[in-house]
Symmetry: C2
Subunit: 447 residues, 2 copies
């Protein structure tokens, strides 16, 4: 059983509701939309990500014999219903924003149109997949915007929330423009470029730091990056300078050094001077240690001579915004628009489309949120990507998605690129959508 | 390929270091310890969790043919080294604190004793597994402590960081004392009790709210919990009162109602009055909606008549503490103690043991952190759990772990149970450990 594809990766209430839908024969077409209710603090924009995994999940959705037996034995469900689950496949349509598209609450990023039980069952996992990758891609994009020309590498697997989070963070970060990741499996699975240096334990396992450097250089001649801060950062930099000519004679070039503790700007300046004085101007300095886009900005602003930044724990755990207010809401059932009116949580009904207009400077200007079939000026962002349970080809590659994200970030207005206090981007709700909401409210029976 | 067990769930630097260890024949015994460097904000204690998954990972560690081929083709590694990886298994020992044990920084929770390459390779995934479950178990335990007698259920899968996070959060939460989870797969995989109600979409898919209630009750007669806030919470409560006698005649008892928006304390009071006046005193009120232990405490303090709380997003994303400063550090190699001295990140060297003393009131009094083989008063917390790559039996069941956690929480001093401003718990470092650190510093070559 592949963990991420299990049909039981869902909340129990989806299954208890499905039993009731089954009993009542409620299998008409339902339309659900997935959106973020409001912009999280410290964010000026969001970046769509995770669609690939969402569509894979839908395409392969099925209950295994073991899962069906367990459900049957739970005593919660009828035999007929369990047989129905055995046959259940996702046969619906999905419309979505392409991965790498910038978007804003409350614009939908994904719409599912399917028989009600299918569309209901998949809610939990669709949110689970999209919420996380959107969160990571959006945070990584902030780092990309404030560090042009710098190398930015995801180092966060160890403190990501489990295996899938680490793996998908590597994907989402690369999609948003990071240079790569340290997570090896993301190289095999997604083709994300993989980077790595050495750990303190490598130095400590040797009796002598210089010997450790030399051993590493001989074993990884194409990838020589030395970690300097195990004992004394500047003393280690001097050792690197001493070692370089010897390695040079063997045809080995030192690529870089890594700083991982203390005042990184100050150490970088000292180390840069030592390296330069030793003729090692081309050796890059990589900084790591609980960095995120705010720390990177501070180091760049301080003029620290750092070439590459490792984004670790704070990226993969999305430390400042560890969740989004992401929801998946019924918009239409059996041909009738629906909406929820709970206090503070009311939603816009119907199948929606987002149009994006462009200003004279080539930047995005404002968005229009309206109903499908109500054309507006601008580019329509929501497109069909799965029909009758099959994905629409061609499927964009991760590189294509990354290029799209880069193009999107290039047309983001300067004030939305700020790390804080970005003004809200205008998303206009059309009269047609207002009118539908009013009409749904009037017709909803509460008798 | 099972995602969580891949040997490539590691940082590239582990593999580049392994190539160097291989080239140098550095296969002597290494000792690494995993610990949390410092107590995160707003926490008075931590709860050990995740050992089960860590040991499973070690027991099944191997590179698949596909992974080996990909590594060989990367051009980073020698053929001989890839052949060596093909044969690599974890053959070491693991000592650890039992899951469900309360602990404090910088006490080690896990120690790996194995040939250096094996012990090095597993760093990333061991931290990844333990960091997350410790974080969730510790947060869930706070809720358990402040809400005695209340039902507490994990509802957080959708906004957990991926599938594994959702699944392991359900396990860690249950271990810490939550009543159960909504995540169905956690029922199948771990035997965690599974709970569920209904979603707003269920109500909205029906033309009439009362009809929706009735359909649900007929399909799930053993599990009748109605969601009240889709349109108007108190009006919905009145409908429940109206429906109850009819259901009663059919032998169906209403278990509970759920509130998910607005002022939960105020709605709970109004709904309780309506239910009581309608003769439904035994119907429980469940509250949900971005709750964590602080919100639960506030609702209980406000005297809100809520019986059960759903802990969702803020628990599973560990919103206030989304990572721990968890590390895995080399303590000894080839019979010699080691330590890192990086600024602000120095570690205690050697193989360590933690002794816990008990006060007159039966509560834990203070801990003593010392070297293995330096017996102290109190209970030794670190025990052998894997020998030569095989787990020590009997392996504790999740229920036994949960009982251990309950016993541990019962002997936690009252001041450490506070949700904030808990004073630090005393962890004494012995003279023997101080002396070893000094001796390691003096002997470490920096020439």
């Amino acid at each position: 059983m592949q963990l991420g594809s299990s049909a039981l990766l869902t909340d129990l209430y989806q299954l208890t509701m499905l039993q009731a839908y089954f009993d009542q024969g409620m299998e008409d077409t339902a339309v659900f939309e997935l959106f973020i209710r409001s912009m999280p603090p410290h964010r000026g924009f969001l970046l769509a990500a995770g669609l690939e995994q969402a569509l894979e999940y839908l395409e392969h959705l099925r209950f295994t014999p073991q899962e069906l037996e367990w459900l049957a034995q739970s005593g919660r469900f009828s035999r007929d219903f369990v047989s129905y689950l055995e046959r259940l496949r996702f046969s619906g349509d999905v419309h979505a924003m392409a991965e790498g598209t910038i978007f804003f609450p409350p614009e939908p990023v994904l719409r599912v149109t399917a028989p009600l039980p299918q569309a209901q069952l998949v809610e939990t996992r669709l949110i689970n997949l999209l919420n996380f990758q959107i969160m990571i891609a959006s945070k990584a994009a902030r780092a990309v915007l404030i560090a042009p020309g710098k190398g930015l590498i995801d180092f966060g697997l160890r403190r990501a929330h489990g295996a899938e989070a680490g793996l998908l963070a590597a994907r989402a970060g690369y999609l948003a423009g990071l240079s790569g990741t340290a997570t090896v499996l993301a190289g095999l699975r997604f083709g994300v470029p993989v980077y790595g240096t050495m750990a303190h334990s490598f130095i400590q396992a040797h009796a002598d730091e210089g010997e450790a450097f030399e051993h590493f250089a001989h074993s990884q001649p194409q990838n020589v990056v030395f970690l300097l801060d195990t004992y004394d950062t500047e003393a280690a930099a001097e050792k690197v300078v001493g070692l370089a000519p010897r390695l040079q004679r063997e045809g080995i070039t030192i690529r870089g050094v890594r700083l991982d503790s203390g005042d990184l700007a100050e150490h970088a300046r000292k180390v840069r001077r030592i390296l330069d004085a030793g003729g090692l101007r081309s050796v890059r300095i990589l900084a790591s240690g609980n960095l995120d886009e705010r720390a990177v900005q501070a180091l760049i602003s301080a003029g620290a001579p750092i070439d590459d930044f490792a984004l670790g724990t704070r990226l993969d755990s999305c430390e400042d915004v560890p969740y989004l207010d992401s929801v998946y809401k019924l918009q239409e059932y059996a041909g009738r628009a629906r909406r929820k009116r709970s206090e503070g949580k009311a939603t816009w009904p119907g199948r929606k489309q987002v149009y994006r207009t462009q200003g004279a400077n080539g930047c995005m200007d404002h968005d229009i949120l309206t109903l499908e079939g109500d054309p507006q000026e601008g580019e329509a962002l929501i497109q069909l990507c799965m029909h009758a349970g099959k994905r629409i080809t061609p499927i964009p590659s991760l590189l294509e998605i990354r290029q799209r994200a880069a193009a999107e970030l290039a047309r983001l207005p300067a004030h939305l690129q700020r790390l804080k206090d970005a003004p809200p981007y205008p998303v206009t709700i059309t009269l047609a959508l207002h009118a539908l909401a009013t009409s749904v409210d009037q017709s909803t029976s509460e008798a």
